[in-house]
């Protein structure tokens, strides 16, 4: 296994050549926020929260989709990055209708906890307040576009882990939305196995168990590593 050396926050470190920059940063115990990233799924580079500054480039790099390279010099917590990360959270909160107080995932939401962690005290942008529907046609789960941050974790887990590829993304930019099947009512999709993996990996209350009331939805992602360890490394966990 070849190894590269790079500098993270003034510290010289080494990492496997196959690693992403995010892996290398986390290996150092540095806490870079992420939202679309989830260990066990392919990287998407969509939310941009994990951006870092790289010496020699005016651009910012999403560390989850940047491979490490020999001699890289990166910074993870400059004032500019801290400010941008706050802005990203504010933009996510402004884009759709996130009413934390009455959300099924209040108290267990990744977007909500990121906002608190990153010091977002208020949203400086105008709330867009789009008129978006809910899809409750599925027997067991509900899809609420109002709370979706378009991280596509649900798309990826459905495709890469369950192998059903029921969920996908339609539209572009701000008009993007998660769809089931051929953009049909979720409950009418024949490919959906009702496994619920999409619900468990969703960071917000956009996907939830039908019948949930406020603050009831708690999600578990550890199943993902159990499945993948079994499938790839033949390590089975029985608990």
């Amino acid at each position: 296994m070849s190894v590269v050396t790079l500098t993270i926050n003034d510290k010289l470190v080494s990492a496997p050549a196959s690693a992403t920059l995010l892996d290398a940063i986390k290996e150092q115990g540095i806490d870079v926020p992420t939202l679309c990233h989830l260990k066990g799924l392919s990287e998407r580079g969509g939310c941009r929260l994990c951006v870092v500054e790289m010496e020699g480039s005016p651009k910012l790099f999403a560390s989850c989709v940047t491979p490490v390279a020999e001699g890289m010099v990166v910074r993870t917590h400059t004032d500019r990055l801290i400010k941008y990360r706050q802005m990203m959270i504010e933009l996510l909160l402004a884009e759709r209708n996130h009413i934390c107080a009455v959300c099924v995932q209040n108290g267990n939401c990744e977007l909500q906890s990121l906002a608190a962690k990153l010091g977002v005290t208020s949203v400086r942008y105008d709330y867009l307040c789009p008129d978006l529907p809910m899809d409750a046609s599925h027997e067991r789960y509900v899809m609420d576009h109002n709370r979706c941050v378009l991280c596509a974790r649900c798309n990826r887990v459905c495709d890469e882990v369950e192998g059903a590829h029921t969920l996908d993304m339609a539209g572009r930019g701000i008009h993007s939305k998660v769809i089931a099947g051929m953009n049909q009512a979720w409950g009418t999709s024949r490919s959906c196995t009702s496994c619920g993996k999409c619900v468990q990996v969703c960071p917000t209350g956009a996907l939830f168990k039908k019948g949930s009331s406020a603050a009831e939805m708690v999600k578990q992602h550890d199943f993902l590593l159990w499945i993948l360890d079994g499938r790839e490394k033949k390590i089975w966990r029985w608990s």
Binding site: N97, I99, C100, A101, C109, A116, K117, T121, S122
Partner: protein, 187 residues
């Protein structure tokens, strides 16, 4: 904290478009509320009878979002007369539940609930805000900082008594209000 008259700091609490739950959480300080009221002068509040927002207020806690023109006028007035304005609770901080109407057109909402027989079987015209005794509703419900500058954000629906206590103590000490991470989440 420093005050204009070297007497006790002057406290106001205001209730815009909200449910009073944040004021209830303030009362949930229980016996500690007696301490707060002995350290500060309550000069304007829904629980007191002064009708006009007074001059020279040191701290104003504002519960509720800005839903109508009266909310807007009071927000502007209290800003002019207050040294520190605290967005008190999620409605003031984010718009929260009252903001759920923003995905709909306000006139459609009003027309529906006052004319559709599902909501009313009795007689009478639609309430008349223009030129009448009730305030005109804003097209969108907005958080406080979108209409006036806000100095301190105290989120929560409602903010827990512990959050309120932490914020009030910081204000009384004259320092900045820096809540720990677990005390600054929305919801």
């Amino acid at each position: 904290m420093a005050t204009s008259t070297n007497s006790k700091p002057r406290l106001a609490t205001v209730w815009l478009g909200g449910c009073a739950g944040c004021h209830m959480s303030l009362l949930d300080l229980d016996e500690r509320i007696v301490d707060v009221l002995s350290l500060m002068d309550l000069v304007f509040s829904p629980v007191a009878d002064i009708k006009k927002f007074p001059e020279g207020v040191d701290v104003t806690l504002v519960e509720g979002s800005v839903c109508n023109e009266e909310n807007l006028h009071l927000a502007r007035e209290l800003r002019q007369k207050s040294k520190l304005v605290v967005a008190f609770g999620d409605c003031a901080v984010t718009g929260n539940v009252p903001g759920m109407r923003n995905r709909l057109k306000v006139n459609d909402i009003v027309t529906s609930v006052y004319t559709d027989p599902f909501y009313r079987e009795g007689p009478g015209p639609v309430p008349q805000a223009e030129g009448g005794e009730i305030p005109v509703l804003l097209p969108k419900v907005v958080p406080l900082h979108q209409v006036i500058s806000v100095d301190i954000y105290l989120p929560g629906c409602p903010p827990s008594p512990e959050r309120i206590w932490a914020a009030v103590n910081a204000i009384l000490k004259g320092g900045p209000v820096e809540l720990p991470e677990e005390m600054r989440s929305f919801g």
